[in-house]
């Protein structure tokens, strides 16, 4: 057990050091406003997830991105989810990509000064030869009713329709645990072409045993010329 703890501590130190290097130069393509992941996994967890993103840009005017996922935990600290992603704008519509992600909870919640997890993602675009693989470091820390979360992502893109490149991005959330039904938060997103900040409301509605609906609704204001002036995002997760 002691060996396992030492092993995790070493991993955490390496990841922490890596994140320090990563955050000194955050670069990434495209809009990276999405959602902020938390580093926790529950055994027996199963969920359906729907996400919607809306923004206007100069090229295609109104853009809608839809994401539908189904997920399941397989052990006490691994959770796997598969997504279908579609986009709808003036130029294009239909299924855009498939994605598979696996979340690994590294530390017990509350054991250390911050909680740690890793997210692994692989995405294949359907209309172009583009593959993307990403690893994201998930960090969360509590200060009484305030909870801070940071996601630091390192992504690798390759394929016939894209230059092979390495990208980084950052998402952060500061959430106030006001009540189970309503929690206000502030989210911040940063990458090469994204710099955004805005308020998000979220909450949870419980039904029968082990059935609950988690929702999020936010508007992220663009803080740079490349970022859309306003990005609306919504999420609904049904756990069962």
């Amino acid at each position: 057990m002691q060996k396992t703890n030492d092993y995790f501590k070493t991993i955490i130190k390496c990841i922490g050091f890596g994140s320090l290097i990563l955050t000194t130069n955050v670069i990434a393509d495209g809009l990276t406003i999405d959602k902020v992941y938390h580093p926790y996994v529950q055994p027996l967890e199963r969920e359906l997830e729907f996400r919607w993103l809306h923004y206007d840009d100069d090229k295609t005017n109104s853009n809608h991105v839809y994401r539908l996922g189904i997920g399941q935990s397989f052990t006490t600290n691994w959770f796997v989810e598969a997504y279908v992603i579609s986009q709808n704008n003036a130029d294009d519509s239909g299924i855009e990509a498939y994605e598979l992600e696996a979340k690994w909870q590294l530390t017990e919640q509350g054991e250390y000064n911050a909680d740690w997890g890793l997210l692994f993602e692989i995405e294949k675009e359907t209309k172009q030869s583009i593959w993307e693989a990403a690893t994201t470091l998930l960090i969360e820390r509590e200060w009484d009713r305030l909870v801070g979360t940071a996601n630091l992502a390192l992504a690798f893109e390759t394929g016939d329709n894209i230059d092979t490149e390495l990208e980084t991005s950052l998402a952060m959330q500061l959430r106030y645990r006001y009540s189970r039904a309503l929690e206000p938060a502030l989210e911040f997103y940063m990458s090469e072409n994204t710099l955004g900040l805005g308020p998000v409301l979220m909450g949870e509605q419980r039904f029968e045993t082990r059935k609950k609906l988690h929702w999020e609704l936010g508007i992220i204001a663009g803080l740079s010329d490349e970022t859309p002036d306003a990005t609306l995002r919504a999420l609904a997760e049904f756990e069962f």
Binding site: G16, A114, R141, L195, T209, R210
Partner: protein, 111 residues
Amino acid sequence: MINKFNRIIFLFSLWVTCPGLVLAAPEFKIEIKNHLFFPSELTVPADTKVKLRIFNHDATNEEFESYDMNREKVIMGNSQTVIFIGPLKPGDYEFFGEFYPKTAQGKIHVE
């Protein structure tokens, strides 16, 4: 602009990744039998991180859940788990069993 934010994020990362002083947390035991928590009320010290070791003696799964303490964790049947809570301010913090919420209820007194 980006450089300024990079500096903020760098400092945040430095602070979060600094190894905290991890002291041995005092340990308390809670047992689940027949979909009830024993003891159902527990007193723990204020401003101290506490380790709860929870034994589920039932054959069925249970989930320790508390919005007050921001914790939820499934305990499989006939097994045990550890949950870290706190440091908490003095007061009462409720918890319940998500699988059997009508019977499995409890409270942590922090003083």
